[in-house]
Amino acid sequence: MQVSRVIYKIKWLLKMAWRDSRRNRSRLILFGSSVILGIAALVAVYSLEDNLRRNVDIQAATLIGADLEISGNRPANDTITRLMDSISSVQSHERSFASMIYFPKGNGSRLVQVRALQGPFPYYGILETIPGNAQQSFRNRRAALLDRALMLQYDAMPGDSVQIGEVTFVIEGALLKAPGQTGLSASIAPVVYIPMKYLDQTGLMQKGSRIGYRYYLKFTKAVNTDALVKNIEQRLDANGYNFDTVESEKEDTGRSFRDLTNYLEIVGLIALLLGCIGVASAIHIYVREKIGTIAILRCLGAKSSDAFLIFLIQITCIGIFCSLAGAALGTLIQQFLPYLIQDLIPFKIESSLSWPSITQGIGVGIIISILFALLPLVSVRKISPLNTLRISFQQSRPSRDPVRWLVNVLIVSFVLLFMYMQLHNFMKAIVLLAGILAAFAALIGMAALLMWLVKKFFPASWSYVWRQGLSNLYRPNNQTFLMVMAIGFGTAFICTLFLVQSLLVDRVKFSSSGEQPNIVLFDIQSDQRNELLQIAKQQGLPVRPTVPIVSMRLEQVNDLKSSQVQEDTSREQSMRLFSREYRVTFRDTITPYEKVVEGTWKGKVDPAGTIYISIEKGFASRFNLKLGDTLHFNVQGAMVETVISSFREVEWFRIQANFLVVFPVGVLEEAPQFHVFLTHTPTQEASVKFQQETVKRFPNISIIDLDLVLSTLNDLLDKIAFVIRFIAIFSIITGLVVLVSSIRISRYQRMQENVLLRTLGASGKQVLWITALEYFFLGSMAAAAGIIIAFAASWSLAHFNFESPLNPEFLPVVIIYLSIAAITVITGMLNSRGTLNRPPLEILREEV
């Protein structure tokens, strides 16, 4: 009996929820649209992340093409050779270096990355080539595989010749993809494979040349990679070698796109939070309009929980529907996202449905629909049946309702938990939540301030239209708080996204005009300098002194030795200090683009013989180096003791040779070194002519055409910016939907007032002006408040997170302000347009 009563009750509640939703469905869908967009953004981002992770897992072995890769910048010594032989007899060797290649057919030259290969590498995956068999056949003769883009650029075909150093190779085929290669790296320094046996003949293996040595090993039996790594790590480090396994490659690859996905997650989170605002504000207005219906139900004998459940059912159903729709939209969008970022990823992304992401998105959508609707819904319990007779002025105060407090706590807890899951950092989640709550408080404060100001300084002498529009801001049942919060919050997010984008997608602004260098030559040997400068002078190019570069390693800082750091694996920071190769220069003056910020610059060796060096400020801070610290460098076998005398600030984005460490003159002149030369070519033709002459005369010299590189970099940055903006668009659209729906949903109340005005004799123009003025003040105030909050948030992010100054462009901000105000006014006026041309009663009947 009890069960059947419960079932009857449930059926009745469902029936009433359906009945009451008649004539309201478009309104409910409007509130749901903000949920749809928020969930779509979230599902798209989650699915992309999931697909990337899955692809990394599946294709991990093909990322390095072997089970173990050992690399260094010198050939393997006996220790390392024995070590490798003990691990596996199946090995391939590779030597890689930057070099110019020359196409005799088209008389073109280009900087490429030459990889001389010996052995059957890759062991996993293949070198993808056209024709397909070229990846094997090139190994057996004097042939080369060239990157396809390179071949297209120089109109080269299989069978054509290409000169690398002193050797002419036949182009065997076009290389489409090699293990670990991205579209980005291929466009900056395209890869050319040649057989190792011809490397010496090229004459490019000279003293001082920067050669990378790689050894690829394939395990012949099952190996515990972790144990192996522990076993070999120290020995490799001690001998100056690095290693990569499939697992470490997975981690590195994951790390490389984590920043991007983290940002996208945050943008998705923002879209979702905006959706939450949309839900809460829309349901708040919806419930207000239902007071009469709820009072009638209470009169007739419905319990307060019945009324609450009826609307909860409506919102849950809409939440489910909109979450499903959002998940579907997000899944669709996610199919296209990989195309946008493929160039950044070293493997082909196979896109598939990510059911965990879809499920998570739907779950989150339903939760936020219900949770954020609960806040206004709990007030339904307190609606008195007395409202059937008159509006009850003695409704219980919200602050005294414990259920309301419970809902507030639930909402805050959910938002905090969700942020933690996105940001993977509890403190950051708390800070972000605190920021959002502070933004709310600021918006509420500004709304209260607006109302107070209007009341206090009410312009009694102004025309009726102005007075009516202004007084609508503070009259009973006004929407000022709600509108300022919804519009202000949406504006704050939109504006913050714009401001932060410019930080994240901070383009390298190189000047390519005037005399700024746009061509860099390196690997210049000492005995080649004069002749090279002569060539430049003959061709009318600006001749600047070449910059010497000496390679060395750091062995000791004060009392801390490199060997001590290697034994103590907790000193990760220090390991990076000692494990890298330093390329330093020597001079007696600082350049015009450097500034000594601490200490004293000493360009010459001290009479007492102390060698004072200058360190870049940021580098010194990162590794806790101080003025007066003693650094022992190993300059290719010779130990040199130095003392830090100054820190410099370097303009890294200038086209010049910048250095972390600068020696004084009188120390390194006789050390093995190469030189860098920068100059400016006024036209593409002049650049080609200079490059051809140089490559012909000095095949070992590498040339970087900066215009080409910058163009490639800018293309890449455009792609990244597009992806970021594409996802950010969801946040922006959600913000606009929240704005529009908040105004639209209050349509009926507005309409009643406008109809009354028309009944009393107001002209259509007067009604429109009153509406326009009210919404103009609302929209302007809310937009201004949102922009102030956006600046505060962006400054905090710039200062604490990105450690860079905020240099906002004000024009986009002004456009945002005007757009938000305009959208608010236009939407408000669209609400009212129906009252102008039709009889008042007809409008009211249609609306009800």
Partner: protein, 231 residues
């Protein structure tokens, strides 16, 4: 006949700024079953407030209400709602139909709240009784004022209430519609044997009830049997 409604020393005040506004001051009366009683008085005399207290829609600042021997002060809001569903019918000045429900659905709601089954024929029969059998699937916005009030009456009588509260039932109607509604109200009431408490400022309408309670300034100034009853 037993006492269906008892009001004892009822008072109601509201706080308005720093002052207390007394709307009802020490009202006491009781009503026997099956009687018709009207509460009259000028605007602001407290008629609607008294009706709200008697029907359990509101709580008094002091005093008690007993409805069908149930002390309303002892009940929470949900218990009061159950009492209303069991024993009380309402007719309002502005009809108070649910705009998204048809006429038939509006009439069925009180019965559905009770958990009764096979209620559709009952609701159809009631609508037929009020002359709206051809409008059962129309929404309130498609009905005239008089028709809406008739639907409201059908709803009020659907649960066979013991007591019916009517707040200015003809307040929003023209003369013709008012006459029809009043006739229908009294006919249905007589047929159902319900106690009727009618709030009105219309003395002619009040004269049709058996007892008239007059309020002025929140106080009861008279409580008399009417000429009809006396006659």
């Amino acid at each position: 006949m037993g006492t269906i409604l008892k009001a004892q020393e009822l008072s109601k005040s509201y706080k308005n700024g720093g002052h207390a506004l007394t709307v009802l001051d020490n009202i006491s009366f009781s009503v026997e079953e099956k009687l018709t009683v009207s509460i009259v008085g000028p605007s602001g005399s407290g008629k609607t407030t008294l009706l709200g207290l008697c029907a359990g829609l509101d709580r008094p600042s002091s005093g008690n209400v007993e409805l069908n021997n149930i002390k309303l002060n002892d009940l929470n809001e949900d218990e009061r709602a159950r009492v209303r569903n069991q024993y009380v019918g309402f007719i309002f000045q502005n009809f108070q139909l649910m705009p998204t429900l048809t006429a038939l659905e509006n009439v069925m709601v009180p019965l559905e709240l009770r958990g009764e089954k096979n209620i559709r024929p009952i609701a159809i029969a009631l609508l037929d009784k009020v002359g709206l059998s051809d409008r059962i699937s129309h929404y309130p916005v498609q009905l005239s004022g008089g028709e809406q009030q008739r639907v409201s009456m059908a709803r009020a009588f659907s649960t066979s209430p013991k007591i019916l509260f009517a707040d200015e039932p003809t307040g929003n109607l023209d003369e013709e519609a008012s006459k029809n509604v009043v006739k229908l109200l009294f006919d249905l009431n007589r047929e159902a044997g319900t106690t009727l408490i009618l709030v009105t400022h219309n003395l002619e309408l009040a004269a049709q009830t058996s007892r008239v309670i007059k309020l002025k300034g929140g106080k009861m100034v008279s409580d008399q049997n009417s000429v009809i009853d006396a006659g």
